[in-house]
């Protein structure tokens, strides 16, 4: 079961602010999701390796070659704020 503190923690980790009303809605929805996983957990999986990816491909590598480097102007094209060729963001420290 998930309680309000759990929900609050998840919201903080995801940097979301959740109003009291929303919190009630999300609690119901998330509880339903967790209940579903409880149901999935009942499947006997002894001797079955965890599935990392559903594809059948064994390996997919790149050789170590430099290609397709973006120019700084392009890299910064969508930046809301910039200084020269650097992204500008609110203070972190």
């Amino acid at each position: 079961m998930i309680n309000e503190q759990d929900l609050e923690k998840v919201a903080v980790l995801a940097r979301l602010s959740v109003s009291p009303e929303e919190s009630q809605t999300y609690l119901k929805q998330m509880s339903a999701i967790l209940d579903y996983f409880d149901q999935v957990s009942e499947v006997k999986t002894e001797g079955v390796d965890p599935l990392v990816t559903p594809t059948q491909i064994e390996e997919f590598w790149r050789e170590d070659e430099v290609r397709e480097t973006l120019e700084a102007e392009k890299a910064l094209a969508n930046a809301p704020e910039k200084v020269g060729h650097l992204f500008k963001v609110p203070p972190v420290v």
Partner: protein
């Protein structure tokens, strides 16, 4: 209670940037010092829909390092997402490895103060580097050139007991990385970074004390100083009844102090889970064997061979093998002059002193190995004395010329002719009869005075051994 009742427990996390041309999951360049944000790609910018594709070389270098650190290589390992928000991490997660790292359960050995020490390697896992933040007070600037550069994080066991051991362990790992050519090991530029976990406990206690993580250390000397400071700080805290908090502290090399890093209040919760964008990393046995057989001789094995083959002391061989180029240089000199002991002495004492003072590596030495071998040959053939050789060496360092040439030009040939030296001895004795009498009356300290006079008369060219021998005879009267 005194400091000696406490024991420090230290473990290191070393991040090594792997020397690939392109990034770990995208084909943009890893070059250091390029223009701001000029080495990027939709994957390293974390643009929606961009998919990572693993760089095979990064895996190869990681396996190489794992093998050199005596680790078991997991032939089926997976990438996980480590979730946290920070502006230099555009995707909101770092691709790393969590419960199934590529390399596990290894060890390294190093030599310190006459003892061989062993440190366990708990794991070494692959991950991508984040970008770089430049904090400007009112705002922060982000450069993503570094985002996605392949890293290998090497985690040691809590096996070190002093700051010196920790620094020596870090040097050993660096030297292995350099031998393998997988990392350039530059602490100042951050291509190798060391986080130190430090705790203290009462001697004999089983349980570990609360650990503090030290970051921001960019030289081996500072690793030692930061840990020393931190150990003392923790002992002082505990002795005055305070307790240690688990925290990250930064080292300030100017103040030689550690201070708490201002951090966000909420606890870290990285919510690792397997990255669904990537396949598991399968290392075929044939590939693993191929990498194994391509491993070069590593520092420890080389050091042991030097002791065995060249009969040089363990300490010398461990210093000479720290740098592969230096080890090669030593071998070239030793082979060419046939006197490994002298080769080791000249390199350890004279050459390394000059190199350190000039902040040069052996590759940049103005004295090629052939010249040093020639110099040792001249001493062994008694053409010049050891003392003259030092003068010649200084000239070789300054001018880069061959010793034979310098000796010829400065007429620095050692006088080894019996009668010539006897003449010199006779002259000096005749000119100092008073001192001769004093010597014979028991003032034997005057021996040095006579040697000095004779050497001066010979312009430093008389063989000191022969002067000693003939002078002793003559002074007997």
């Amino acid at each position: 209670m005194s400091s000696s009742d406490w024991e420090a427990v230290i473990g290191l996390e070393i991040h090594a940037q792997l020397l690939t041309q392109s990034k770990m999951f995208s084909p943009d360049s890893t070059e250091f010092g390029s223009g701001d944000n000029s080495n990027t790609h939709p994957v390293s910018l974390g643009l929606p829909g961009a998919l990572p594709v693993l760089n095979k070389k990064a895996v190869e270098y990681s396996i190489k390092t794992g093998l050199a650190l005596n680790c078991k290589i997991r032939q089926n390992s997976i990438f996980a997402r480590k979730n946290y928000f920070y502006p230099d991490l555009p995707k909101g997660y770092q691709i790393s490895q969590y419960d199934q790292p590529l390399c596990e359960e290894g060890w390294v050995e190093y030599f310190l103060e006459g003892e061989t020490k062993r440190v366990r390697i708990e794991r070494a896992h692959m991950e991508e580097d984040a970008g770089k933040s430049l904090h400007r007070g009112e705002y922060t600037l982000i450069n993503l050139n570094r985002a996605g550069v392949p890293l290998l994080e090497i985690v040691s066991g809590p096996d070190m007991r002093s700051a010196q051991e920790a620094a020596e362990y870090a040097r050993t790992v660096r030297s292995i990385l350099l031998y393998l050519g997988v990392c350039d090991g530059n602490l100042e530029e951050g291509s190798m970074r060391c986080d130190c976990n430090v705790s203290v406990r009462k001697k004999g206690a089983d349980r570990l004390g609360t650990k503090v993580e030290l970051k921001n250390i960019n030289s081996f000397r500072f690793i030692e100083k930061a840990i020393e400071y931190e150990i003392q700080r923790q002992i002082d805290c505990l002795e005055s009844g305070e307790s240690i908090f688990q925290e990250t502290r930064l080292y300030d090399s100017v103040k030689n102090k550690t201070f708490p890093m201002r951090s966000k209040e909420e606890a870290h919760d990285y919510r690792y889970f397997p990255d669904p964008d990537l396949l598991s990393v399968v290392v075929e046995t044939a590939w693993l064997e191929e990498i194994k057989s391509s491993l070069p001789e590593l520092p420890l094995a080389k050091a042991q061979r030097f002791v065995r083959e060249y009969q040089i002391p363990e300490y010398d061989s461990s210093v000479l093998t720290q740098d592969k180029a230096l080890a090669n240089y030593f071998e070239q000199v030793a082979e060419a002059c046939g006197n490994p002991k002298a080769a080791s002495n000249w390199i350890m004492v004279e050459l390394l002193r000059e190199l350190n003072e000039a902040k040069k590596t052996v590759v940049e030495s103005p004295i090629p190995s052939a010249h040093l071998a020639e110099l040792i040959g001249l001493i062994d053939k008694k053409t010049i004395s050891g003392k003259m050789a030092k003068t010649v060496f200084a000239e070789m360092w300054k001018t880069g010329r061959a010793p034979g040439e310098i000796v010829k030009e400065q007429a620095l040939v050692q006088i080894t002719d019996d009668s010539a030296i006897e003449n010199l001895v006779n002259q000096v004795i005749a000119a100092n009869l008073e001192q001769v009498e004093a010597y014979r009356a028991g003032k034997t300290k005057l021996f040095g005075f006579f040697v000095g006079q004779i050497m001066k008369a010979s312009k430093g060219q008389a063989s000191p051994e022969m002067v000693n021998k003939i002078l002793t005879e003559k002074l007997k009267g």
